[in-house]
């Protein structure tokens, strides 16, 4: 059969998704799936590179890449400054031609006592302009915060390529 270039690329993408949707697996393709430490200023920089690579892998255009890397930078900085360090997990999600990147940032810090307030622009206890959480939320499509006082904070954020 004739194998056009686009046909081939479509098949390749579908195959990526397919291996993961095999029985027992989730619907999450994982060509890139890595957890990075966020414990130093240097880590804040290297995390950006890793997130950039993942967005390229997922086929995001430049502006979307920038949005996701910026959101990652905000979240990682939050974990570093407020959470006393933590980790950032990057996953490339695949639903056929629909691709996405999920960032999961965890810290074991003091937690956020008032999440609504923390999402309000201008509210901050550390450096930055207090746009960290709220801003990151605006740059991503899905955004959840799991936090409790003295039990740390986990922020999960996803951006898709088709919205």
């Amino acid at each position: 059969m004739t194998l056009y270039d686009e046909e081939f690329s479509a098949r390749r993408r579908l195959t990526l998704r397919g291996h993961a949707s095999a029985p027992g697996g989730t619907r999450t393709a994982q060509p890139v799936h890595a957890t990075h430490a966020v414990r130093s200023e240097q880590d804040l920089l290297s995390v950006r590179h890793a997130v950039r690579a993942a967005t390229v892998e997922a086929g995001f255009a430049l502006v979307d890449q920038t949005r996701i890397v910026t959101a990652a930078s905000e979240l990682a900085r939050n974990a570093y400054v407020h959470g006393g360090g933590g980790s950032l997990t990057i996953e490339v999600l695949g639903h056929g031609p629909r691709r996405g990147v999920r960032l999961t940032v965890r810290d074991q810090g003091p937690g956020i006592p008032d999440v609504d307030k923390a999402l309000t622009d201008g509210w901050t206890t550390g450096s930055g302009l207090g746009h960290g959480l709220g801003g990151a939320r605006r740059l991503m499509h899905e955004f959840t915060i799991d936090t409790a006082v003295d039990r740390g904070t986990t922020v999960t954020a996803i951006r898709w390529n088709d919205r």
Binding site: M1, T2, L3, Y4, E7, A10, R11, L14, T15, G18, H19, S21, A22, P23, V63, G96, P97, D162, R163
Partner: protein, 296 residues
């Protein structure tokens, strides 16, 4: 795996090996009967059939349970997906596509019939073939739908690009005439192309003309504001022209503050303002007025 299933599987494997050509031909024949043959090229079908049958034979030689064989065996899987994508692009209907895969059942079963007349054995073979190829039918349908979705997405992306031209109107002045309903996606595409064009042309002023836009909602007005602010951050200026009465009303009712934005009634007025702006030294300020700039 029961011994009976093992034996049936072995039988199917042997039949596939021995009667490869016969099964392939029969399958292609069945497909051509079922569908509008003119859409499909018979030689393509033969190549597909040969590939799929050899993948199937290889898969049966392994020990993956039959109902998982199609999804988990790489070569088999990609054969089924290629076949379905090919049909999706050729414009075949989803039913035809699934049926094409499922008609392989008949071809297989007929081949098995040549090797045994024992009803119990035939029944076991039929069950096995069904379990094997039902998964293929499902995968084929799924792939078909995804292939179509991709085509639709690509077309809507292309349409978006076509519907948002950025034109150079004057030295250092760009214009974006927007026509039709603005939604969030389109406004975002506009924003990106305006900013890129500013960088490419070193433009000092970008005019967004919305004469052809029937209505805006809060989200779109917000995106327009974003566009203006982003243009300023890049060091250029933005003029919005052609705000029609209903849109002016909406903006007022929504309480959106456009006071920091330069607006003009017509594209012509906007162009005049833009030319005036480019005569002055290049300068843009994010938000508040700058005392140092004023004193200069």
């Amino acid at each position: 795996m029961s011994p009976r299933e093992d034996a049936t599987r072995q039988r199917l494997h042997d039949v596939l090996c021995e009667r490869e050509k016969e099964i392939a031909d029969r399958w292609v024949g069945l497909q051509l009967e079922q569908t509008d043959a003119n859409e499909l090229d018979a030689s393509d079908l033969h190549t597909e059939a040969a590939q799929l049958i050899s993948a199937l034979t290889a898969g049966l030689a392994g020990d993956t349970p039959v109902h998982r064989l199609v999804v988990s065996q790489g070569e088999l899987r990609s054969c089924v997906m290629e076949l379905s994508l090919h049909r999706a692009r050729a414009g075949a209907s989803p039913t035809d596509t699934s049926l094409a895969v499922l008609s392989l059942k008949q071809a297989l079963l007929e081949a098995v019939q040549h090797t045994t007349r024992d009803t119990a054995e035939l029944f076991a073979a039929a069950v096995l073939i069904n379990r094997l190829l039902d998964a293929a039918g499902a995968l084929s349908f799924e792939t078909y739908v995804e292939g179509r979705e991709e085509i639709i997405q690509r077309q809507s992306r292309q349409l978006l690009e076509v519907s948002t031209p950025v034109v150079r109107l004057w030295r250092h002045v760009l214009a974006v005439p927007l026509i039709g309903t603005l939604d969030t996606t389109r406004t975002q595409v506009v924003m990106e192309s305006v900013l890129q064009a500013i960088q490419d042309h070193e433009a000092q002023v970008a005019i967004i003309d919305i004469t052809g836009v029937p209505a805006v909602d809060t989200a779109v007005a917000q995106h327009l504001m974003h566009t203006v602010n982003a243009v300023r951050l890049m060091g250029a200026d933005c003029v919005i022209s052609g705000i029609r009465p209903p849109i002016a009303q909406t903006i007022a009712q929504l309480g959106i503050d456009l006071s920091t934005i330069l607006t003009k009634a017509t594209l012509a007025d906007a162009l005049a303002a833009a030319i005036q702006l480019t005569d002055e030294p290049t300068l843009a300020t994010g938000g508040a007025t700058d005392p140092a700039a004023a004193s200069r």
